[in-house]
């Protein structure tokens, strides 16, 4: 070996360069996210929104329920002022407090439905269908197809109009019960019903996505190798399959939150979702809509409307950015 070619041999420095640890996934993700200023703004709004929801009792100056004091003429339908930041509504209730508590309603419904319907049901059933195949797969597919064939809003309305009155009657019986009586009276039953209904139809899309990805992954050689080595199903699922569907889970949950919130607002708008006095954006928007109302008291529509619009826009932008970052096909 001459002096020239010796310079081409790998040196100690090269070896160390190869062994330098890769950038941790979180760091790379955070960097990609920070590059997208609009998505960061969206994330900030989302955090603000959910933060308000969590600390609602501390932030809202008044209660969301009306009182007889509010119904006095001078308090009703006021515009924004120092006393009532967002004004008051038809019953004299402070709009700012109502909006703050409405974010709480939205938070409860979106988080509960997204986690149960999206995470547990959607991912769980998707894993089951994709990995087990066979009759379990067929059953789940049929069920998903049937549920997906009915127009979602129609099904929700149908459920709300048919099953719900029975649940209501049953719950009213339980108002007097010692332990669960008082939490029931706070309107948690309404929220629970909306949560059940939305979860019922919400899992279909996520399940389909997860299932197709699981189908793709389980044919990879490393999975076959693990199976031939006798790895248990649990280990394969957790160690091999789940890391490859993680991004889909995140994406699925983010995109579905917007849809869930919209469904809740639609349901409440038609009077079939969360009901008074539990505050909700759908309720407030319904109060404010109607051209005459908007002309006379625009703040009734535009204040909750703007906050809701920003919510949806933020989730749309954030979901889009997440998709760009996480989806291996678009990287």
């Amino acid at each position: 070996m001459t002096a020239n070619t010796a310079a081409l041999l790998p040196t100690a420095a090269d070896t160390y360069a190869l062994e330098r640890p890769p950038v941790p996934a979180w760091r790379a993700f955070a960097r990609s996210l920070l590059k997208r200023k609009l998505a960061c703004a969206a994330l900030c709004y989302i955090v603000l929104f959910y933060g308000t929801a969590i600390f609602a009792p501390a932030i809202a100056p008044y209660s969301y329920e009306g009182s007889s004091h509010d119904l006095r003429k001078e308090n009703v339908l006021q515009g924004p002022s120092w006393k009532h930041l967002f004004g008051t509504d038809r019953l004299g209730r402070d709009l700012f407090s109502r909006v703050v508590y409405a974010t709480r309603t939205t938070m409860l419904i979106t988080v509960a439905t997204a986690i149960t319907g999206g995470l547990f049901l959607g991912v769980g059933l998707g894993l089951l269908a994709g990995y087990r195949r066979g009759i379990v797969d067929s059953l789940i597919n049929r069920l998903g197809e049937a549920l997906g064939s009915i127009p979602a809003l129609l099904l929700l309305l149908l459920l709300a109009a048919t099953v719900r009155p029975r649940i209501d009657a049953w719950i009213r019986h339980a108002y007097g019960w010692p332990l669960i009586g008082s939490p029931l009276r706070t309107g948690i039953a309404d929220i629970t019903f909306v949560f059940f209904a939305l979860t019922l139809i919400g899992w279909v899309d996520d399940e389909r996505l997860i299932r197709s990805q699981v189908l793709a992954v389980r044919q990879q050689e490393y999975v076959l190798a693990a199976r031939s080595m006798g790895a248990s199903t649990a280990r394969i699922l957790w160690h091999h399959i789940f890391p490859n569907i993680r991004f889909l889970v995140v994406l699925g949950i983010t995109t579905s939150i917007g849809a869930i919130a919209l469904s809740e607002i639609s349901l409440t708008f038609f009077g079939l979702g969360v009901r008074a006095p539990t505050p909700s954006f759908g309720d407030m928007i319904y109060d404010g809509s109607g051209p005459r109302q908007v002309l006379a008291h625009p703040h009734l529509l535009f204040v909750p409307g703007t906050i809701a619009i920003l919510f949806f826009i933020s989730f749309a932008l954030f979901g889009d950015a997440l998709n760009d970052i996480l989806n291996p096909r678009t990287r």
């Binding site: 708008f269 002309l295 949806f312």
Partner: protein, 314 residues
């Protein structure tokens, strides 16, 4: 194309259990609800005997399964039952004219979404990497994110009440000014979706080998490459068109309710509230069948249109 016909038959057979499941579920839901059409209509003003007699006449006191079988038998013979709300009118005579109205309402948006959306998608794909791409995409995303319930009253106030350019609501056919606002509200979301779809498929085609070959041949970039790229990018678009065709008669709940359009969307809401079982079932069955057929049609259309798939199935 011997492979296509068994495919169609298989899909049809697979659709039957789905439709069965859906109809059974809806039927049971309807019957499980408290109240029934008789009670809702008489509002307690009729004596219990009258109510019982009417219920017996309508077979509402039979076993639910028996009612279901009887109902499906009538449906298959084309009879959707008689409405309770609009006395003595058959359900078919109510819902089909309303579907016709919804169809007219969706006609302009259908054409506009594709006629405007596709060029926008093409433009975005060509401007990939420039500032126009993310800017327009973001604007479209933002526009789609605005819920219809908020958008409609705002537009109504601006264009109708304040500037007095257009009527607030009402339905006078597709050649009146009433159609403008609903068309706008219905077109924008679809437009964003189509633009996105077009852009994605254009981008996928642009990276293909034959495009590089065409460029290497020295063909004029703008005209001929557009012909090559766009032609191939249209494939997913055709499935979108076929898919949307079947939903033309499905009316949007919000648009119809807030604009006072007497279409099938507004009717659905009214009939669910009034517990008119026959009508509810009819609307659900028609919607579900349409959805299932739409899916089937999309699958079949793609088989026909994509020459690669056609060749493979032969």
């Amino acid at each position: 194309m011997t492979g296509v016909f068994p495919f169609i038959v298989r899909r049809l057979l697979a659709a039957i259990p789905v439709i069965f499941l859906v109809t059974v579920a809806t039927f049971y839901l309807g019957r499980y609800a408290p109240g029934d059409p008789i009670t809702a209509r008489t509002q307690g003003k009729a004596s219990p005997e009258t109510v019982a007699r009417l219920k017996h006449q309508l077979h509402l006191d039979d076993n639910v399964a028996v009612q279901y079988v009887r109902y499906m038998g009538e449906v298959l013979r084309g009879d959707f039952g008689t409405s309770q709300r609009h006395v003595n009118q058959s359900v078919s005579s109510i819902i089909f004219p309303k579907m016709w109205i919804s169809l007219q309402e969706n006609l302009y948006p259908f054409f506009l979404t594709f006629l405007i959306g596709m060029p926008i998608g093409i433009y975005l794909a060509l401007r990939r990497g420039h500032w126009q791409d993310p800017a327009v995409t973001t604007v479209l995303l933002v526009l789609t994110a605005i819920p219809v319930v908020i958008l409609i009253p705002t537009l109504q106030v601006l264009f109708a009440a304040k500037w007095k350019l257009l009527p607030v609501s009402g339905w006078h056919g597709i050649f009146s000014r009433n159609i403008v606002l609903p068309t706008v509200v219905l077109t924008v979301p679809g437009l964003a979706g189509i633009a996105r779809l077009m852009r994605i498929s254009m981008v996928q085609v642009m990276d293909d080998d034959f495009v590089r070959t065409a460029r290497a041949k020295g063909l004029q970039d703008r005209i001929v490459i557009m012909r090559h790229i766009v032609r191939n990018a249209l494939l997913p678009m055709t499935t979108a068109i076929v898919g949307s065709l079947f939903f033309l008669f499905a009316g949007s709940f919000f648009v119809e309710t807030l604009f006072g359009i007497p279409g099938i969307g507004a009717e659905s809401i009214a009939t669910i509230g009034a517990r008119d079982y026959d009508e509810i079932m009819a609307i659900t069955i028609v919607s579900t069948v349409a959805f299932v057929i739409a899916n089937m049609a999309v699958d079949i259309a793609y088989t026909f249109i994509d020459p690669r798939i056609r060749l493979i199935t032969q």
